[in-house]
Symmetry: C2
Subunit: 263 residues, 2 copies
Amino acid sequence: MLSRLQDALSEHDVDTIQITYSETEHGLYMLRSMPSVDVAIVQCHFEPVAIELLSLLRRKAKSVLFDGATVSGLDVDAVASNWRVSLDMCMRHLIERGHRNIGMIGSTGRSRPIEAIRLHYESLRAWSPGGAVLHDPVWLDSLPNEDNLGEIGEALDVARRPDGSFPWSALVIWGALDGKLLQGVFSERDIAVPGDLSVVLLGHPGVATESNNFFTVIGSSAAETISALCELTLRRMADERAEFVTRYLEPVIAEGQSEVDTI
Amino acid sequence: MLSRLQDALSEHDVDTIQITYSETEHGLYMLRSMPSVDVAIVQCHFEPVAIELLSLLRRKAKSVLFDGATVSGLDVDAVASNWRVSLDMCMRHLIERGHRNIGMIGSTGRSRPIEAIRLHYESLRAWSPGGAVLHDPVWLDSLPNEDNLGEIGEALDVARRPDGSFPWSALVIWGALDGKLLQGVFSERDIAVPGDLSVVLLGHPGVATESNNFFTVIGSSAAETISALCELTLRRMADERAEFVTRYLEPVIAEGQSEVDTI
């Protein structure tokens, strides 16, 4: 996705350079020696952002733009997935297809977007939307960039009844980044998707590795994310003093073959 | 509330000093000349926090603790009102009392807690919780520390029908900080609360100026906020390397005389 963003910015004669770091300390070390830039676009999910890093970016760049609502409340711009609306859209979609027993797998991670999923699921659940029962959610210890597929498999084993059925007719999964490996998790267990269980992913429609051309995916599209990041970069370059904004993207649905109507 | 927090910390032999600033630049100027401290507790609602200020606080204090989820995703601790659960509790309370037509007044402000109210109201609304109609909300241009009471009055004038009635049987207001002045807004217009309209505030139960011993208030209590701030301060002083947390407070309801059952 980053290369697509670089292409989009190039079309507007904006030169970009990409730096990837694995350790904050090392990232800081590299950044200190870098010359100044107009806009720093930051992508760092799941972990708290060090104020020291932010402060250095602020000194090196006239403006800081986040991909994701990882941080908020600061003098930065951000483009963010709207997980609240994505979850609403997902539940509405499943309820319209007749599902009344819905399961949920997410993460215990403390970053704001992950927390938003948990809190919104708990809120929705208490309202029994459309008369549906939203079952006890499973919040995995792992993050999507860790081995969460193993944990997803374990959650399925725990939930499965002795007769092989599940308490849910549909399962929503957030944080599965590799659709092919996820299909493996189900097939290893002889769980037919969607025959035994409908599955919808909260993720990024248009990212082929997530859906693997099989799973239905709901979330903000990669194309829209790129276009919004590009737009906010150009806006900031045109006006350094523009109001700071977090732009929430409207979710879309990319329907796959992983879910069916139920009666 | 700050003095109550200072008292609570004194009981644990923690010395505190309070600095209040109106302009970020001036705050920065004052802070630069200050000696270092163990924990900086920051209270700044409604406006984006300057990274430069945060960075200075980080250098002056071993740890930074926010009153409010004003910023998130950083290496800071925070104690936050859970407005999502507060709004859920408020709607549940009104629905239990028979209300099925509910109005809402909040703010267009861009800070995270204000945004949370708007987004959650819109989400709830689309689900018609408990069969209730959540009417078009009014998002005021002003912030609670500005003249928002004038705007609340205008919103009431606009919503009122020619026969003097309202489209809602109950109205939820977020951001009214002075219960006495708010009562004036209704009485000036000959609107009997709760006779003509039940009113519930989302705010801070236990803060006498908000309820004026009249309004029902739902939100996190001042006492709980103080106790959580105190606890997180001591936790951080005991362990500089503890995981960074945002502690959401469970809302409570302080029932007043501003709402009635409806049929």
